[in-house]
Amino acid sequence: MKVSMNWLKEYVNLDPDYKKLEEAFNLKSQEVAGLEKLVDIEGLVVGYVLTCEKHPEADKLHVTTVDVSDEVLQIICGAPNVAAGQKVIVSKVGVVLPGDFKIKKAKIRGIESNGMICSLEELGVKEFDPEETGIYVLGEDAVIGEDPLKYLNLDDSVLELDLTANRPDLLSMEGVGYDAACMLDLEIQTKKHTYEKRKEENNFSVYTDTKDCKAYYAQVIDHITVKPSPSWLKARLMAAGVRPINNVVDISNYVMLEYGQPLHAFDYNRIESDTIIVRHAKTGEKIVTLDGQNRDLLEYDLVITDGKKPIALAGVMGGYDTEVEPDTTKVLLESAYFDPTCIRKTSRRLDLKSEASSRFEKGVDPNKLIKAMEYATQLFVELAGGEVVGDYSFFDNTQKDPTRIDITLEKLNSVTGHTFTISEVESILKRLYFDYHKQGDLFKIDVPTRRQNFYGYQDIVEEIVRIYGYDRIPTTIPATPTTGYLTKKQRLRRTIREYFVNNNFNETITYSLVTQKEAVEFDQLTADTVVIMNPLNKEKDTLRHSLLPSLLNILQYNQSRKIDNIFLFELGRGYHNGYEREWLSGLMTGVYTSTLWQGKKEVSDFYLLKGLLESLLVKLHLEDYEIKKASEPLPTMHPGMTADLYINKQYIGYLGKLHPQKEMDLGINKTFVFELDYDKLAELYEPNLVMQPVPKYPSVSRDLALVVDRDLEAQAIIDQVIFAGKKTLKDVSIFDLYQGDKIEPDKKSIALSLVLQNPEKTLESSEVDQIIERILKHLDKTLNAKIR
């Protein structure tokens, strides 16, 4: 809402320094978006053109002498309409016009010019008189040497408020006046309107068959002349950000801005009956609106009809056929109350949001229906020469009583945590112009209808606190003690983040919305997709299942910026019909660590990734895990380099190399990825830390070199060693692998390091020999493994 300060001064006695008002609005009401002059030009004067001659050197220029009261200026003027005897707007040397255009002393074709005679366009207010061409000629009554902006009523400042949805009362100047008066503790001056009417029978009738039109007032005004509005009215509208059109339209808009009640004027002679019926539209009905558009109507649309066909879309837009034209002489003025929800639905569907519809959909004040119509009628008489044809026709079922809300002082104090006194509350209620009855500490408050959306005591608390001042409310901390903590799942997230960050990975957060194709790539669950009905665009119309497509996009993005060594991880959700799953996903590509001048380099590969994940599992005490060749690797994965991860025999996810085709498609280097089910991981994560005794007796190491079939998996050997080694075997690891021409082509040699330990005593070397013998025999029997 743009608030004209000149207009507001009609309601309250404002301090000329508007900063106080601005601060009051910011801290007690609505955020101020700006406080600016309507025309921000200093130093304009009214000038009188004494002489006007053709420039000797230029056909289109005039040499004028202009009396500006304290001096006579010679000014060169290019406007065709300049003439002696005119009163004009003069920018003297030094004045700065919009666009940072500074008027300077100049010589134009050899003749000196000391200023400029201005057009409205040059002042940035073309819409004040769109017909004007050339310089603007002021009226005879303009006083030479005075401020022309004042003469034109354009010497105004505008306070722009960002309104919240709960304050439709501030969509009217009267409402703003009440709020300003209340905040600044000033008296409010309200207005009264009167006019003469012709004593004659009014034959016009109005009806409705729907409760969605609660009231309808219609006043017929005859003998009007459509013409431009006077300058004060145009200036007011411009301050409010509304373009002046003609007196009929301008009066409706002006009164709407005054009282928040939208009005509509029909050309009376174009209405084909003497009856208005407000009803819901019928299926298949159409209307051509003011903007010339043919609109298909739905049953929830409210329409104004002439008894047969729609002549206006109620509260949203007038009809083309009954529009007021320059030759209109008789109007029907409408002031009505339409159901907010109906108006909102229609204006949203047709994408027709107007000053009127936005007021109707927030609920207008039923007590302004008559007042607004009377004010507009008065203005039609005064500004359009209209004659009022008898009484208005109407029906009105609106609730005009105030809303009664009870609140006790104790309630106010218990909600705010502040101790208000009875007299403080009374003083604020008086400033709000809310009537009330006091019974002990109980206030029975009558909230006037100009304040809609009052439902309970909380609304009263809000009013009292904002006027009293939030800065005067104390600061305390809730008294009820509670215990704060993170759940196991929340803590684990942090542990995992720390782990990957400490292992040189970068955490990413990516969008959940992806393309339809990306949504199901790397999907480990079901192929159902969750699709957005009203997406922003095709790139983001489906919710992802896996995080990997997003991570690969990030990889691509960074690689194309010459970053080759990339290690990413993310914790985030995948979305399916009816459930969401949290994933721990990541990827690695390029050199992980290096000391190049020493020839040392650790490059991303399967075993590096596997090791990182294994260390994480050990850290999380999830040592009962298995990593097996993937039984059914995803089509985007390398079938020979992908493994499944099981913890406590439950499938958790997979790790492996991307399919070379996928790498080629994306144009990326060799990339290793993993995606683990975080929900399951968190479920299995049960760190149960009880001290285990540290072994007292030394351990013994033995190395074994075995020859086995080439396609035998290492895990199979380890499993059998563990089986045969029983309790004494503490650890087994592989320290060498050989396949080549020194052994048979279908064999490989594998070297194991075994650690044996007895917690009860020191192992004798003969005992160790026995155990090793047992293991070897078992390996030979089960795996045909021979000692090398």
Binding site: T416, G417, E462, T480, G484, N504, I509, L513, Y575
Partner: protein, 344 residues
């Protein structure tokens, strides 16, 4: 005799100066102190001299022997020292050659800010609640005093999956769910961090996906003053202990009264600068007292319970604290951006 002993010591000194290695030194040691050394001969000659001179001579011989032994020891020590010195010299490295290099790991800036906010609230006795991002219209709007066709729904353009489901536009539905789960209606202090979505085109200041943390306190006597105190504490923890806060009226359907919360500018201290638009204040979050309709819909008697709620955008906090100039940077994951926030 005395002369001879003196000569021996001088002779040794001369020989020591010729010694090149440990072997030379060992030979020298055998020559002077071994079984066949010159001292053995001298001791044998001792029996030929008069008895009264024997003690003196014996003493002189022993002194010479000790002197020689000491010199040999010194020479040995000196030689060892030189050896160590040479070894150290040969082992010296160029410490300016590069060390092992690896990628710099980093936690995402949004994760860092979420963790920071979580820690502040956990310290105040809050627990952290999570909920689905695909939400029902009922939990996202209707139970938050935002019935269908409510004008305030214009404030939040949403991404719908069907008429009744959408991507949550705030984390408030988690608060609703938490109220409903709290069947014993115990005093509750929770925060709900998470991803939220709006139908906004991505640009420098808008993102269709962003992160919120909302807080909710419901018990018999949580007051507006408690809200104010909580907000002050949080603002000071996030932006510095000297910060002040300012509450301004606002409107959210789920709170009444509703406020916007400004923190005094941490750059200029409140005197006004470009950071704060020369107002001295920076808007950081929205808050208010829980609307009775929300309590009632969740089965709480508004005569017995009251509470407050607050909500902040994590991106906004990160933008303010770290001078990030484009909200899209959080989601682009340009590693040159992400890695800047590695150490915190």
């Amino acid at each position: 005799m005395e002369q001879k002993l003196k000569g021996l010591v001088e002779e040794l000194e001369a020989k020591l100066s010729q010694v090149k290695n440990a072997n030379d030194l060992n030979l020298l040691k055998a020559e002077y102190l071994g079984k066949k050394s010159v001292f053995n001969d001298l001791m044998k000659q001792l029996k030929d001299i008069p008895n009264e001179e024997k003690p003196l001579m014996g003493k002189l011989i022993n002194e010479a022997k000790q002197q020689i032994a000491a010199k040999l020891d010194d020479a040995k020590m000196e030689m060892d020292r030189k050896l160590v010195e040479e070894k150290l010299k040969s082992e010296a490295i160029d410490v300016t050659l590069p060390g092992k290099s690896s990628n710099v790991g980093s936690k995402h800036l949004l994760s860092q800010v979420i963790e920071e906010v979580e820690d502040i609230f956990v310290g105040l006795g809050y627990t952290v609640k999570e909920g689905p991002e695909v939400e029902s219209d009922k939990y996202n709007f209707e139970m938050l005093n935002l019935p269908k066709d409510h004008p305030a729904r214009d404030m939040q353009d949403s991404l719908y999956i069907s008429e009744e489901t959408l991507l949550r536009t705030h984390t408030s539905p988690v608060q609703v769910r938490s109220l409903l789960e709290n069947t014993n209606q115990e005093p509750m202090k929770i925060i709900c961090p998470g991803k939220v979505y709006r139908k906004d085109d991505d640009d420098q200041t808008h993102s269709h996906q962003f992160t919120q943390v909302e807080g909710l306190v419901v018990d018999a006597n949580a007051t507006l003053a408690d809200l104010k105190g909580t907000l002050l504490f949080v603002a000071q923890k996030l932006f510095g202990e000297e910060r002040k806060i300012r509450l301004r009226p606002s409107y959210f359907p789920f709170t009444e009264p509703s406020v916007e919360v400004d923190v005094s500018c941490y750059k200029c201290g409140g005197s006004g600068c470009s950071m704060c638009g020369y107002t001295g204040w920076i808007e950081i979050l929205g808050a208010g007292m829980v609307n009775n309709n929300v309590l009632r819909d969740a089965g709480y008697d508004p005569d017995k319970f009251q509470g407050f709620a607050l909500g902040m955008g994590i991106e906004r906090i990160a933008i303010l604290k770290y001078g990030v100039d484009d909200i899209r940077a959080f989601y682009t994951n340009d590693l040159r951006f992400n890695k800047q926030f590695r150490g915190k």
